[in-house]
């Protein structure tokens, strides 16, 4: 099976899907069919991705499923694809999250994407295009997300890296809440600046390779063999690093993420923090470390400082947030601090932990964001202080939010525990100071997660959460309900006055169960049986750290049972 062009198929399938969905869903009439078709394409993609993971040979070549097609011969660029264990898992994560996000965002208000952030006029609801087009953009984004992980040609990687911006830009700017245009602009300018700085490094790499090898090449395998001086490495490293640090994002280059996550639709935010940001940390592992090993070692302290500062800074920001969407994006920034710590600690244990963290973070933060979105869709407010006692009216929804929160603070038994533990225990040997500081950060993580859960889920029902009958509270709520999008894209709203007890908050419906269920299952399965994942990750991480960076690793290969996996 390993000759089967999985990667090519994984890129072509969503591209085809995007075209078909955009065509069928071009008007209201085809919207429902188009949405189903989109989910169909996403599920087919998932099947192909799972087949690819199954046929991946953990003991085989470093890069598998490789295909190469000539592209721009004059510049030495080829359309080369291939995956190692790290890229493989991230492609799998993409394939899992895309259909989940689609089903979750079935209607525009399914995840409360039309709810403005606290402080903005709640009456102004921006009208948007139909949801089928939203799905088409997601499929197009998937093309580039798979491509960016699968590319083994640095030029091709850059093309996908930049191309990802376009669908994301339209997703945020076209489908978000108020201030979505500014958020989209901020997102794309930040990303462009990073991308263009990286482009300078890529061009530099191209010129160096041309001078050293006689003919230009962008092949990752070839470039890895270049013998660069330390000065050259440092400059080229910085170009890549800035781009990836913006993407990841590391503090202080993170400010676009809360803005984009706050104003953008939640489905997009899930993909943004779940996958797009992983391109940054993936880039560290795939490009910074192997291509510039000396510079990576020399500049590691800088990265570690940023990582630890990020853990604390983002935690503080999260604790202070009243906007639940922004809170979750800040928690995610804190998590990226741990991932960066794991990568730049240069031990296989920490590295494997970081890669597993990348996968687990996508699942657990995705779960948390989607659950929070469902709460926001019901309460029609993003202010945490508007909520209380969700457990009383919607126990399933609150329960899953609770599980997602626990996974976010890495409780044993959830998937995040394994990865966070591996990162910390692996880093301790080489970077005890930073590791101890990061461990203290866990306390803050517990603080923001538990406080969020306490304020929103526990206690008596209050605020926008209706009290169940019998509590004696029966005040009248004056609210506007979005009925749909009428002619000319204007929002049709109805002003209603109902008592809180009349208004149904409602627990999970069938569609929402299908969205959250699989993610909850993955959280627990990977919490107890992380070994299959580690078997895929370990060879790739070992090769990156030992062969490329040339770091002797005192520790034994990672074995989950030796490190505690929550049993």
């Amino acid at each position: 099976m390993s000759n089967f062009p999985f990667l090519f198929l994984l890129i072509v399938l969503p591209l085809l899907g995007a075209i078909v969905v955009a065509f069928i869903g071009r008007d209201e009439a085809g919207e429902q069919v188009a949405k189903k078709a989109a989910v169909g394409f996403a599920l087919a993609e998932l099947v192909v991705a799972v087949l690819m993971v199954v046929s991946f040979d953990t003991g085989g070549e470093r890069l598998q499923f490789t295909t190469t097609i000539g592209w721009i011969d004059a510049l030495g660029v080829s359309f080369s694809l291939g995956v190692d264990g790290i890229a493989l898992l991230l492609i799998l994560l993409t394939a899992i999250l895309v259909p989940v996000v689609m089903i979750a965002s079935w209607r525009r208000d399914s995840l409360g994407d039309d709810v403005n952030q606290p402080g903005d006029d709640p009456a102004v609801i921006p009208a948007v295009g139909n949801q089928a087009r939203y799905f088409a953009w997601i499929l197009l984004l998937q093309v580039f997300m798979v491509g960016v992980f699968a590319a083994t040609d640095v030029f091709l990687f850059y093309v996908f890296f930049e191309a990802m911006l376009i669908p994301t830009y339209f997703l945020i700017g076209g489908y978000g809440a108020m201030r979505r245009r500014a958020a989209a602009m901020k997102f794309i300018i930040y990303s462009l600046v990073g991308g263009l700085v990286m482009l300078a490094s890529i061009i530099g790499l191209y010129v160096v390779s041309k001078n050293e090898l006689g003919e230009a090449s962008f092949s990752w395998e070839v470039l890895r063999g270049l013998d660069l001086s330390e000065t050259t490495q440092t400059w080229l490293f910085l170009g890549f690093f800035i781009a990836f640090a913006i993407k990841a994002p590391l503090v202080p280059l993170h400010t676009w993420l809360p803005t984009a996550g706050g104003a953008g639709p939640i489905g997009t935010t899930v993909l943004l923090v779940g996958i797009l940001d992983k391109v940054g940390t993936f880039g560290f592992l795939r490009y910074c470390l192997p291509l510039f090993p000396d510079a990576s070692r020399n500049l590691a302290p800088l990265v570690l400082v940023l990582a630890v500062v990020g853990i604390f800074y983002a935690a503080m920001q999260a604790i202070g947030q009243d906007d639940v969407k922004k809170l979750v994006t800040y928690t995610s920034i804190a998590h990226f601090g741990y991932i960066a710590l794991g990568i730049f600690a240069f031990t296989t244990q920490a590295g494997a932990g970081a890669v597993l963290y990348m996968f687990n973070h996508g699942i657990s933060t995705g779960l948390l964001l989607l659950a929070v979105g469902m709460i926001v869709a019901r309460g029609r407010s993003r202010k945490i202080s508007d909520y209380g006692g969700v457990f009383r009216v919607a126990p399933w929804l609150a329960g899953i939010t609770f599980i997602a929160g626990m996974a976010g603070l890495a409780l044993p038994g959830t998937n995040s525990f394994v990865s966070e533990f591996l990162v910390l225990i692996g880093s301790f040997g080489r970077e005890p100071v930073f590791t101890i500081l990061a461990t203290i950060g866990i306390v803050f993580a517990a603080l923001y997660v538990l406080w969020l859960i306490q304020r929103m889920l526990h206690g008596p029902a209050r605020g926008v959460v209706p009290a169940p009958s019998g509590d004696g509270i029966d005040e009248v709520v004056d609210e506007e309900v979005l009925l749909g999008v009428g002619d000319g894209g204007t929002a049709v709203k109805e002003r209603t006055k109902r008592t809180v007890t009349q208004r149904a908050f409602g627990d999970l419906n069938v569609r929402e169960r299908w969205v959250l269920g699989p993610l909850v299952a993955i959280v627990f399965v990977l919490g107890f049986f992380p070994q299959p994942m580690l078997n895929i990750i370990n060879p790739a991480v070992e090769q990156t750290l030992q062969t490329d960076v040339g770091i002797e690793n005192p520790g034994a290969p990672v074995d989950a049972s030796a490190n505690g996996d929550g049993k």
């Binding site: 721009i72 700017g173 263009l196 700085v197 482009l199 300078a200 061009i203 894209g489």
Partner: protein
């Protein structure tokens, strides 16, 4: 060293020069057509003449594709860069003629009329001038004038001799000054553009001429190769060379629209008829940069340290001015003008590389930039109010809902100008900047890349307006373009995408056009 002997007639390779000769002949015939053909038949015969001549000239260029020679007493160089620029200029000329020929965008009563005014010389506001607004008289001088300009540009890029280069500069500039004043609507702006362009252009020409004289004083010759010899043997006076080169650069950079010699650009782009602005932004820029390449890479290639830093400074100033002033624009055509100033800076980054990649990078950039610039101007010309073009950027609000296709095309063009991958603009920037890094100008490339992120702001703002805003209540009309404009928009946009996704063929073409004869 040079002494006047009996003057001998130089031999002229007529076949190699045939592309230029065809264009000039067509221009001359065009003047005769204007004088003798009945009014009703003028328009079709002028369009037909121009199109036939351009095609004939293209065929002649193709037939001469392997030529690598100097002719007319070393005055003209027919080499691969010249031939490729000819082909590109002819294509730009053809696209411009197609835009000129469209008479479906403006109307008087129910009659559709062209972009051009019938009597451009009338003072604004007098009765005869006001009467023109309601008259459907057409004038067709724009065709022969543009053909003269085209022929002048073709001579300009092939000049191996500074005197010929100066004459060619004047030959293509004078018609451009005139056609800048031909806009049917907004006569005052148009006349202002023409006068401003003429005055500042003459100023630029003066600098060029003065520089030429000093260089003659330095080297005793106006032949580019002769100047090269002088720079290598160092018998001349360096101060003369530096002064002469500096003044020559001022003249050339004026034509190329490089800051700080850019002041005419926004006014002229805004005031000229939009098809003329399209032609100028593409063709003038190409001609100026190829001539600049020829002077630098033939005459001064041995002394790069005396001009590379200067060009680097001009590049930075140009990128800065283009990017920062572009941010503040509210008029689409002025924004495109500032964008062209910024792009001129990006192109200079490639020019100063002084290596083969510098030639190919510049070539690729000016060709692809010209295509997307023509497309952008053509799109702008579709948006109209009763009193003429609606060229405010705001007028594009909500275009995605009103005209999804037009919005899509504009998005592609803006992304290409930003330099997003999978568009020609990206490959152009990549190629241009790799030449500069190869030449050791990494710092300049970093600056250029950061400033191109700044230009992204105003390109993306157009996308924001088109997609993320509701159409305004009093939105201007989007006219259905005539077939010729339609074809121009589709072809240029398709090529912008094509050269981004499959740049191989064009890259091979420019790679074979890197060798100057001289």
């Amino acid at each position: 060293m040079n002494h006047l002997a009996a003057i001998e007639l130089p031999s002229i390779a007529y076949t190699a020069l045939s592309p230029i000769l065809i264009i000039f002949a067509a221009a001359a015939i065009g003047v005769a057509v204007e004088a003798f053909v009945p009014r009703a038949a003028r328009f079709p015969s002028q369009v037909g003449l121009a199109v036939v001549a351009i095609f004939a000239s293209l065929i002649a260029v193709f037939a001469e594709r392997g030529t690598h020679t100097l002719t007319a007493g070393r005055a003209l160089a027919i080499d691969a860069p010249a031939l490729l620029s000819w082909a590109a200029l002819l294509v730009f000329g053809l696209l411009a003629v197609m835009l000129y020929a469209d008479r479906s965008l403006d109307k008087v009563g129910n009659t559709r009329v062209s972009h051009f005014v019938a009597e451009a010389a009338l003072p604004i506001g007098i009765r005869a001038d006001r009467a023109l607004l309601t008259s459907d008289r057409v004038q067709t001088e724009v065709f022969p004038l543009s053909m003269f300009a085209l022929g002048g540009m073709m001579t300009f890029v092939a000049s191996n001799n500074l005197i010929v280069m100066f004459i060619a500069l004047e030959v293509f500039s004078l018609p451009l000054y005139l056609i800048a004043g031909l806009n049917r609507r907004r006569r005052l702006l148009s006349q202002e553009a023409a006068v401003k362009y003429f005055l500042l252009g003459s100023f630029g020409s003066g600098f060029f001429l003065y520089g030429l004289a000093l260089l003659y004083g330095f080297s005793g010759t106006v032949d580019l190769r002769g100047i090269f010899d002088a720079t290598t043997t160092e018998f001349g006076n360096d101060a003369f060379m530096l002064l002469g080169l500096g003044l020559l650069l001022v003249g050339l950079l004026f034509k190329a629209g490089v800051a700080p010699f850019h002041q005419w650009t926004p006014d002229v782009y805004q005031g000229s008829p939009t098809p003329v602005a399209a032609f100028m932004s593409a063709a003038t820029k190409l001609a100026a940069f190829i001539a600049l390449l020829r002077i630098m890479y033939v005459a001064f290639t041995a002394v790069p340290s005396s001009w590379q830093p200067v060009l680097a400074i001009f590049a930075i100033v140009s990128m800065l001015v283009g990017a920062l002033f572009g941010l503040a624009q509210t008029d689409f055509k002025r924004m495109l003008a500032y964008s062209s100033i910024a792009h001129a800076g990006f192109i200079l980054v490639a020019v100063l590389a002084n290596n083969e990649a510098g030639v190919t990078g510049t070539m690729f950039y000016v060709i692809t930039y010209g295509l997307s610039s023509i497309a952008a101007f053509a799109c702008v010309s579709l948006i109209r109010r009763p009193d003429g073009e609606a060229s405010r950027i705001e007028d594009w609000k909500g275009m995605a809902r009103r005209k999804p296709l037009l919005a899509g095309i504009m998005t592609v063009l803006m992304l290409s100008m930003t330099g997003i991958p999978l568009t020609a603009g990206f490959i152009g920037k990549f190629h241009a900047f790799s030449a500069a890094i190869d030449a050791g100008y990494t710092w300049l490339v970093v600056v250029a890349l950061l400033l191109s992120a700044v230009t992204a702001v105003f390109y993306l703002r157009v996308i924001v307006l088109m997609y993320f805003h509701e159409p305004a209540k009093d939105a201007p009309v989007v006219e259905e373009p005539g077939t010729s404009t339609d074809v121009v928009i589709w072809v240029t946009t398709a090529l912008t995408v094509l050269f981004g996704v499959i740049p191989g063929p064009l890259l091979d073409l420019v790679a074979n056009a890197a060798q100057f004869v001289g």
